[in-house]
Symmetry: C2
Subunit: 362 residues, 2 copies
Amino acid sequence: MESIIPVTLPHSSYSIVIAPNSLNEIGPRLAQLNLGKKILLVSNPEIFSLYGEITIQSITLAGFEVITHTIPSGESYKTLQSIQDIYDTAIENNLERSSTMIALGGGVIGDMTGFAAATWLRGINFVQVPTSLLAMVDASIGGKTGVNHPKGKNLIGAFYQPKLVYIDPTVLKTLPEREFRAGMAEVIKYGVIWDRDLFIQLENAESLDNLQFLSDDLLQTILTKSCQAKADVVSKDEKEAGLRAILNYGHTIGHAIESLTGYESVIHGEAVGIGMVAAGKIALKLGMWSEDDCQRQDNLIKKAGLPTEIPRDLDIEAIIETLKTDKKVKAGKVRFVLPSNIGTVSITDKVTSNLIRDTFEK
Amino acid sequence: MESIIPVTLPHSSYSIVIAPNSLNEIGPRLAQLNLGKKILLVSNPEIFSLYGEITIQSITLAGFEVITHTIPSGESYKTLQSIQDIYDTAIENNLERSSTMIALGGGVIGDMTGFAAATWLRGINFVQVPTSLLAMVDASIGGKTGVNHPKGKNLIGAFYQPKLVYIDPTVLKTLPEREFRAGMAEVIKYGVIWDRDLFIQLENAESLDNLQFLSDDLLQTILTKSCQAKADVVSKDEKEAGLRAILNYGHTIGHAIESLTGYESVIHGEAVGIGMVAAGKIALKLGMWSEDDCQRQDNLIKKAGLPTEIPRDLDIEAIIETLKTDKKVKAGKVRFVLPSNIGTVSITDKVTSNLIRDTFEK
């Protein structure tokens, strides 16, 4: 059982490989890519202790020289300082233009390793080995890399494409349950914005809130369809000029919630879940979609064990203020992605502060 | 008198405008580019005090909102810290994705502003207004941006193309003479590697070592032909996969000299001058070009008032060691650009440490 999804971009094309129990076969896969001899493997201590050895062994056996660099876990280390630490390891080990950086970890490790690869010697090879569900279906695909600024998430970064995204779904068995559910939010998102079939398969699944109750086949299908959705969208719009904005479905209010709660009490996928429910309510208020579809979406989000309500202690005015500093603001207007059918969304700037107040005030 | 040189790249095309006495007309030129309303003008205090006001006035009159940010002069400020300072100004002023950063200054300001623009919100608009001869004919064209790592120059950076390069040659009248001569080294380089006509025009010029003795016409020709040469080369090889390496003519030994002398006693253009003379000697030793051509090149470098000898206190072994850490090292081999005729160079990895010893040891 192996899926290969090609991502075709004007300047660089690469494959997403989804292959269970395959971390010990990554070396030969890398050997096909015309990479230089040196590889810098970047990870965090937890992931590295679980999967570092098997990865390094396979890469070394394939003839590469591997150097490792670990960064403590967590969003608070997603800083320029951590990037500087990677640069220091790169120079100590004479990384050349033909060398490769591999990200072994979740979204934070992927974003940072990608940014370091994008900016070391003006760009060296980069490979993603995502180990969280969120990173597998979202962060590792599409070339967004970067770090946080003290005043905002992902404000510093670059578009930089990997040479390969290598997914071994088996590693999800060590992912904390809460993070698994958070990743499921992005999977549901693809169902709403792009792939009605995926949505229906998720509805029909026995359970969504725990990996144990997902068959290997269904997991492979979920990963393949999600990665395919993301690949479809980014292939059509590499640098977020238009279509790609639909991937922000649920993220506008989601980001505001994360920002106002300090990125810890509500984690990204949870915030996206709440954001999708909120966007659904707004779309309903605007008469853009049906009560029935709205209900189906909310049920699926609940089925995944995700929260659906904006935290009670958050003031709606604070959310409105935070929306105004969103990166996606264009000429001062907040642009919202709203659903019109399951499988279809559109982008609108009709969502006024007053509409948000009306929708969420008791 | 105005030259417009189009730079055509697969993904982004832009123009180099060379127009004397035109800094007060930059606003309308920017207004043609479909830029957002906000502009962050980055400069250093000296350049800003000379040309800030006239530039801001023209930009403001054209309907833009201008914010300014200055960075102290000099290579020692070409650091990630200075980039962070630009980010801070960007966030304080809510720079959006449609906003623009303009570099008003020499190569250091251009490289840093370009890197900040490349990495702020994963890339915003960028315009170069080079004020030194070196920046006009070299640094501002081709999309190389970046900063220094404590252990090496330009190790951190990105390829990022400007929307416009706007050159007003009149500003060169305030450029220190030593810097003017240093810039002339790159002009001579284009003559050797690409444009035999330019080389001959430089030979025929009355004087090259002082702007005062250059007619406006000759200056315009020199700038136009140099920018055209650089544009030709980078258009054919945006990301330095092949041809672009010829632009490093004189830079391999040049960089080693700069690095070993701490980037101050020998400035970049001077190091390139010495590097071209050295490369010429090596090419002569290899029987790749004639004594006559070698002599003509050395005469031109002297005519520009540039040094031609490796500083006496530098040990040739130290230079050889430094070459091994050069960014252009490929699989451990130093690749040299060597001339074969005036107007033509080739790339070789035949230059061994022993050959360098033989060429330069007394």
